[in-house]
Each structure stands twice: as structure tokens, then as C-alpha cells.
């Protein structure tokens, strides 16, 4: 078949089939999902417009301030660099999913189509949507830059050409890397590790940006110019594309075309290994994945979930869980084993955890010191406790709400084992609640303690006093306990709301973990968390704030009022949400 159709025709036919599937899915989407799609499109449109306006203004300002037109060349360099970086990151993960993890591979690779046709069609169909967005985001700054300089058609022609050429190099490198790696490591494992790497990169970036004090202060235009100039590296394809754009629009054009030729040459070189792996190594990786019955033993370690020799714990309540019903304990212990053993889940935890680490580091290195402004110590401690509580609730809530939101979807196609068993809706929902809430309390409490310890440590360093007394004064045990209590109460509400949402919109038929949460569910959960935690958190924090400042009358009355309102709202949120979740149990999995 392939010999008759030719490679290009085969690729086009497969790509067309993929687009038909995507179109049918969109056509049959529910009204609510379409609405969310429209909202996301509007938000993206707004971002795009902002980037257009920003680049236009920046170009005018840079040329005006530095009084030379070349000063604004940093705009296309920055745009191309960002586009290339995003394109490379996306290429690797999308190519991995498209080439190895899609469901129709058995069908396609078992057909008479050549491996190369399947390879390129999967690659193109997988990467086109993501690169469409990336190219749009790259194109708009170029357009703004061109408009600001009153450029003519050679500029826009060169910009279009450069955008078409831009993604080929990162796609070729990313896809080749994927095929070569999957030859030795299973695609699922690579996916887990990539998730970790992406999160680690995000974390590092957050730490670097967060720790850079100069960015927190007023930044001058010259500082900004200095940062943007760092993108100008003669070995970077972004610089080659910029020289092409500048050469064609401002001259000399021959220089511009020379740099475009350099890019095309390097791109062509990168396509040679891609062409080769598509025909030879791709097959090996796929065949490797088909090898069944490989032996997978869990690495033994000191962490509780690494002990496979304690299987009996799943069938008998013991320790602190001994007072709970057996089926509930089975759910809790199963979740506490399955979730941490999957690296994909750990990747999801790292990102919010990075924020927590960032705050701890900031407390250690650059603590917020209300005392410097002459505020009495008695006022400082409650304010710092409120800050710690907010950070701990936010970080622990982000981590554990994700698990609670996917508590039922996470069961996936294995849910039949629970659905067909005699576990009651109450035991199932409460089991899921406890399995997320206990880690939330421990994590939140740990973060509160770490934040206060970091502050105490810093106080000792700055005031030159002994460490232990400084730590004790910095920590303030009473405040920590209250902060922990607030984190636990707010956490209970957040977890319960997440469970209810997850029970109402479960997706048990996912193939990739990101399919567990739909965008509309994610949006809805954020709104509800923010609303609940904002109101209940303020009520619970009111006594702390007002008792010191004595703004609103008697502290005793305020403590009673704040606690009553905060606990009342939380009780309604927890009980109401759990009741909703229990009600949904009958239809989950049908």
C-alpha cells in the first residue's frame, strides 16, 4: 500500500484521519466544555494581544531611549529564543506521547504502511496544535516590533519564513532523542522522568527568580536591556533568525540570507538522524514496549510504601487505623501505596512543593521583618503566623487537593474491584477523605514548623544570640499549634470540596494521567477553593489579627466569633461536600 501511495500521501492520509478524529470529538463535546474552550481561547487571545502591544511599546521605548534602531533587535531575539525553548520542551514530551503512548499504535504499526509514514504522521499530528500556539506567541512580538518600526513587506515575509523554519530543528532534536532513549528505557518510565525534569526546571526557575532580590526592586530600563542582551548568543538559532530578519529588512540582505542558510543547513543536518531513526530504531522501541511479563520488583527502601512484605496491612486495620472499618482501611492503605509509587504523581507534587521550599528559603535568607519598622514584637508574631498559615495551607492544599480531585478518576479502569465489592459509599468516601487529609495535615504542619524554624534560625544569626533560645522565641509553640489547627481545618474543607467535584465529574477511562482532570473541573475547583479558603481562613485568622491590634473590641469575643464562623463554614463545606460525594457514588463507574 505504502509503495503505491508514496510516503507523503501515506503521511497526509494518516494526518487527515487524526484531524477528523479531533474534529468529531470537538463537535460532540458538551455545551459546558465548548464554553470552557471559548473562555480559554479568549484568555489566549488576550495574552496574544498583550504580547503584541508590549513588543510595540518596548520597541518604541528602546529605540527612543538608546537612540539607535539596533537597540530594539533584542525583541526578535527574545521572541525567537522563547519560541525555540518552548518548542524543544514541547517537542520532547509531545513526541513521546504521540510516538509511543497513543492507543492506535498497534493498529497502525500492524498495517502495511511503512514505519516511516506512521512515525512522521504521528509526529506531525501530535506537534501541530502545540506548535501552532507557540508560533502564534512568537509571531505577535515580531508583528508588534515590525509595526513599531514601520517595516515593509520584506520584514513580514522574512518573519513568516523564519517562523516556518523555527520549529523544525527543535522537533527533529526532540523526536530523535525520544526514539533513542525509548530504545533503552520504557516510554512510560521516560514519561515519568520527563515530568520530574520539567517540574524540577520550573522549580529551579522559581527559586532563581524568587531569590533574585534585584528583580523585586524597581528595575531600570538599562537593567532590562542587559537581561535581554544575554539572549544574543552567536551560536543560538534565535540569533541567526534575528540576523536574517534584520538583514532582509534593514540590509544588507545578502548577510540575512546567509544566516538563514546557516539555520537551514543545521536543520537539514538534524533531519538526517531523524530520518534514520524513523525507519530503524522506532521499531525497536515499540517492540520493546510489547515485551510482556517482564519482572518488576519494587526497590526496597525505608519509606512505608516501599515495603511489599507488609501486604497484610491492606486487609487488617492496625495501629491508629484499627478503629476504622476494614474496607475503609483497605482504601486508605491502598492509596498510600499506589500514589507515591508512581513517579508521575510525585512530579505533580514537586511544583507546589517548590513554592513551599522557596518560602522557607526566603525566610532563611531574606526574612520579612516587621520589627525593622519599629513594630512591637507582640504584634509581629501573629502576623508572621498568619503568613506561615497562608503559605502552608496554599502549598499543602495545592498538593493534596489534586489527589482528592482525582481520587475516583485515579482508580481508572481498576474501579470495578471497588464498585463490585461490598464497601459502602460512606466508607469509600471517608476512606478517600482520610487518605488525602492526613498527609495534608502532616505536610501543612511540617511547613508551618519549617517556616517558623527558618525565621528563628535567621533571628539567631542576625542578633548574634544562641541558636536554641532564638529558635524557641522565633517559633512560638502556641502560635504554631493554632496555625496547624487552621491548616487542618481549611485542609479538611479543601479536600472535601475536591472529593465532591471529583465524584461528580470522574473520568475512569484515561490513558494519560493528565486526562483525569478536565479543564472545566480544574477551573471550577480553583474558584471554590479560593472562595472557601478565603472566607473561612479570614474568619479563623481574625482573632489572631484583632487580638493584638485590639481594633474591634474584646479579644475574647472576637476569638469566639472568628472560631464559630470559621469552623461553621468549614463544617458546612466538609459535611455538605462529603454528602454530595456519597450521593454520587452510585453512578460513578457506570
Amino acid at each position: 500500500m505504502d509503495s503505491q501511495l508514496g510516503l507523503v500521501a501515506s503521511v497526509l492520509r494518516l494526518v487527515r484521519a487524526r484531524w477528523r478524529i479531533a474534529w468529531n470529538t470537538l463537535r460532540r463535546a458538551s455545551g459546558w466544555r465548548r464554553l470552557v474552550g471559548v473562555v480559554v481561547a479568549v484568555a489566549l487571545g488576550f495574552l496574544v494581544l498583550m504580547s503584541l502591544v508590549t513588543s510595540f511599546v518596548m520597541t518604541r521605548v528602546l529605540v527612543g531611549v538608546f537612540e539607535r534602531v539596533e537597540a530594539a533587535d533584542v525583541i526578535p531575539v527574545a521572541a525567537y529564543s522563547s519560541g525555540l525553548m518552548l518548542s524543544f520542551m514541547v517537542s520532547f514530551t509531545v513526541a513521546l506521547a504521540a510516538l509511543y503512548l497513543s492507543k492506535d499504535l498497534d493498529l497502525l504499526l500492524g498495517s502495511p504502511l511503512s514505519r516511516r509514514a506512521v512515525f512522521f504522521s504521528k509526529l506531525i499530528a501530535g506537534l501541530l496544535p502545540a506548535h501552532g500556539v507557540i508560533l502564534a506567541l512568537t509571531a505577535l512580538p515580531l508583528l508588534g516590533h515590525g509595526l513599531a518600526q514601520d517595516q515593509d513587506w520584506p520584514y513580514y515575509g522574512a518573519a513568516l519564513l523564519s517562523l516556518l523554519a523555527l520549529p523544525i530543528l527543535p522537533v527533529a532534536i526532540g523526536a530523535t532523542c525520544v526514539v533513542l532513549i525509548v530504545r533503552y528505557v520504557s516510554a512510560q518510565r521516560v514519561g515519568e522522568i520527563v515530568g520530574l525534569i520539567v517540574v524540577a526546571m520550573t522549580m529551579s526557575l522559581a527559586l532563581v527568580l524568587g531569590s533574585a532580590r534585584q528583580l523585586q526592586q524597581a528595575i531600570s530600563l538599562r537593567d532590562l536591556m542587559g537581561i535581554l542582551e544575554r539572549f544574543r548568543n552567536p551560536y543560538s538559532p534565535a540569533e541567526w533568525l534575528t540576523r536574517f530578519l534584520v538583514g532582509v529588512s534593514r540590509g544588507p540582505a545578502a548577510d540575512g540570507w546567509l544566516w538563514f542558510g546557516v539555520l537551514l543547513g543545521v536543520t537539514a543536518c538534524s533531519l538526517v538522524p531523524l530520518w534514520w531513526v524513523a525507519d530503524t530504531v522506532y521499531d525497536e522501541g515499540w517492540l520493546r514496549m510489547q515485551a510482556a511479563a517482564r519482572r518488576t520488583l519494587l526497590r526496597r527502601g525505608f519509606l512505608p510504601w516501599q515495603h511489599t512484605d507488609r501486604a497484610a496491612e491492606l486487609s487488617r486495620p492496625s495501629g491508629l487505623l484499627r478503629w476504622l472499618p476494614g474496607p475503609m482501611v483497605a482504601i486508605i492503605r491502598k492509596d498510600w501505596r499506589v500514589i507515591p509509587r508512581d513517579l508521575t504523581n510525585i512530579a505533580g507534587v514537586l511544583s507546589p512543593l517548590a513554592i513551599g521550599i522557596f518560602f522557607i528559603l526566603q525566610q532563611l535568607l531574606y526574612p520579612i521583618r516587621f520589627g525593622e519598622s519599629g513594630m512591637p514584637q507582640g504584634f509581629v508574631q501573629p502576623l508572621l503566623t498568619m503568613l506561615s498559615t497562608a503559605v502552608a495551607t496554599g502549598v499543602a492544599g495545592m498538593i493534596m487537593s489534586r489527589f482528592a480531585l482525582t481520587a475516583f478518576s485515579f482508580e481508572g479502569r481498576s474501579y470495578w474491584a471497588i464498585k463490585g465489592s461490598p464497601i459502602s459509599a460512606r466508607d469509600l468516601v471517608l476512606g478517600k477523605f482520610i487518605s488525602a487529609w492526613v498527609p495534608m495535615g502532616l505536610l501543612g504542619g511540617g511547613l508551618v514548623l519549617m517556616l517558623d524554624l527558618a525565621r528563628g534560625f535567621n533571628d539567631a544569626r542576625l542578633s548574634d544570640t544562641a541558636l536554641l533560645p532564638a529558635l524557641a522565641s522565633g517559633v512560638g509553640q502556641g502560635y504554631i499549634l493554632y496555625a496547624w489547627f487552621v491548616v487542618a481545618v481549611l485542609g479538611a474543607g479543601i479536600i472535601a470540596i475536591s472529593l465532591a467535584l471529583g465524584a461528580a465529574r470522574p473520568n475512569l477511562n484515561w490513558d494519560s494521567p493528565h486526562e483525569m482532570i478536565t479543564p472545566d473541573l480544574g477551573c471550577m475547583s480553583l474558584v471554590l477553593y479560593a472562595g472557601y479558603a478565603g472566607v473561612a481562613g479570614m474568619a479563623l485568622m481574625l482573632p489572631l489579627a484583632t487580638s493584638q491590634f485590639r481594633l474591634l473590641g474584646s479579644p475574647g469575643l472576637l476569638w469566639a466569633g472568628g472560631l464559630t464562623v470559621g469552623l461553621g463554614i468549614s463544617a458546612v463545606a466538609v459535611l455538605g461536600s462529603l454528602w454530595v460525594a456519597m450521593g454520587e457514588m452510585a453512578s460513578v463507574g457506570e
Partner: protein, 256 residues
């Protein structure tokens, strides 16, 4: 074997998916210790019927009673009496075989001493003794089937429902499964299985039902089915005559 007392009784069982009628008013009565086969062509409604009988799907109308317990009114009590083996054995990849068995035992509140004894015995019986502490993610389809079978037997159910139980099993394991099911039936456990393999149904089942387009087209022993279909030849011929197979002429015209 006593077939007098119905262990499973379904009346007017119907399941709708929008306008589509997947199962249309099925009546079944299955006795204690009976091996009962559910046969039918692809899409006939076998799996939907089984999933309703085990409580995975709520019937649109109709009633199901298992061991005297109403599945709709008291689903937990009814489910405690049964075990189910789905056609595709989806398991938790990050649990070991032994952990999965203990997890299921926990869901059924099986006494710990019974779990310890039976899990080891059953894992060894199904040839999983040396792989019991491996993560399930490395298991083949057949090995997963065996894990599910062990988990199904851990709480000594009164009724076992199996959806295409021999798919993916090697001949030795398929034979072992057949022998186990026969022994369980002899000890009073009711076995309800759906299968495409008519030879298995003929050899194993005491009675069977043939479903087509969501309705019962025939029910009884092999001899009774012969009578109902007015056929004296094989079960395959009875099945095809009741469910309607493509005529020779149609096949020839498509293949020509």
C-alpha cells in the same frame, strides 16, 4: 448439586443507554451449585447483563435477587455474596499480586487468619507463588487473570460471575480454571459465566441462556436447547439458528 433454590433471580431486567435498549426484559433463575452459561453474539448484551447482576450497573427497570438479597435495595449485602471476574483484568499496576489480594480481602472484611492462609494457597495453586511480590505492571494478561481469580476466591463467595474467563489463559490454566469452577459448583457455589466458546459452554455448563439483541432467545440444558431450536446437530448450529448467522450465499458474494 441442588438446583431447586434460586441463588440468582432476575426479573424484567432492562438497561437503556439513552434510546438504545441494551438489555430488554430478561428473566433468569439460577440455582445453587449450578454452572450457568450466558451465550450470545457480539453486542447481544451479555456483558451488560452480567454487570447488572454483579451490581456494577443499575438496571433501568427490573429486579435482581442474590441469595435472597435484593441487589437494588441492599447492594452491599448482595455484593458481599458474590465475586466478579471482568473480561479485561484491569489491576493497580503499582500493587503487587499479594497486595491486590489483601486489598480485595480488606474490602470484603475477610478475617485476617483466613486471608493469610487462603492467599498463599490460592497464589500457589494458580502458579503465582514466586511472583506474588512482583508489581502487577509486569504481568501478562493471563497472569492478571489469575490474580483476579485469586482475589475473587479469597472471600469464598456464594456466586461467581465470570465474563469470558478463559480469554488470555494458556491451555493448562484454562483447564485448571474449569476444574476449579466444577469443584466450586460441586460444593454449592453458583457459577455464572459468559463465553463465546461454545465448546466450553457445552462441556461445563449445566444450563445456559442464549441472548440476542438484549433478549433471551433460548434457555435450558443442551438437550432442552435442541428441542427449542428443533435442531439435532451441534450447539454451534443451535446457536446460529437462534441468533441468525450469515447465509452461505451472502458470504460467497462478499468474498467474491
Amino acid at each position: 448439586m441442588t438446583h431447586s433454590e434460586p441463588m440468582v433471580r432476575a426479573e424484567g431486567l432492562t438497561r437503556l443507554y439513552g434510546d438504545f435498549v441494551a438489555v430488554d426484559g430478561i428473566d433468569l433463575s439460577i440455582g445453587r451449585g449450578e454452572i450457568f452459561g450466558v451465550l450470545g453474539p457480539n453486542g447481544a448484551g451479555k456483558t451488560t447483563t452480567l454487570r447488572m447482576l454483579v451490581g456494577l450497573l443499575r438496571p433501568s427497570t427490573g429486579s435482581i435477587v442474590v441469595d435472597g438479597v435484593d441487589m437494588v435495595a441492599r447492594p452491599q449485602d448482595a455484593r458481599a455474596r458474590i465475586a466478579f471476574l471482568p473480561d479485561t483484568p484491569y489491576l493497580y499496576d503499582k500493587l503487587t499480586a499479594r497486595e491486590f489480594v489483601h486489598f480485595v480481602a480488606g474490602l470484603y472484611s475477610v478475617p485476617p487468619e483466613q486471608v493469610d492462609r487462603r492467599s498463599d494457597e490460592l497464589l500457589t495453586l494458580f502458579g503465582l507463588g514466586d511472583r506474588a511480590d512482583d508489581l502487577v505492571e509486569g504481568f501478562s494478561h493471563g497472569m492478571r487473570q489469575k490474580v483476579v481469580m485469586v482475589a475473587a476466591l479469597i472471600h469464598a463467595p456464594k456466586v461467581i460471575f465470570l465474563d469470558e474467563p478463559t480469554v488470555g489463559l494458556d491451555p493448562r490454566s484454562a483447564r485448571l480454571l474449569r476444574d476449579i469452577l466444577r469443584q466450586l459448583a460441586d460444593r454449592g457455589t453458583t457459577v455464572v459465566l459468559s463465553t463465546h466458546i461454545l465448546e466450553i459452554a457445552e462441556r461445563m455448563c449445566d444450563r445456559m441462556v442464549i441472548i440476542d439483541k438484549g433478549r433471551v432467545v433460548a434457555m435450558g440444558t443442551v438437550a432442552e436447547l435442541h428441542e427449542q431450536a428443533h435442531e439435532t446437530s451441534s450447539l454451534e448450529d443451535i446457536f446460529l439458528s437462534l441468533t441468525g448467522g450469515p447465509a452461505d450465499a451472502a458470504i460467497a458474494s462478499v468474498l467474491s
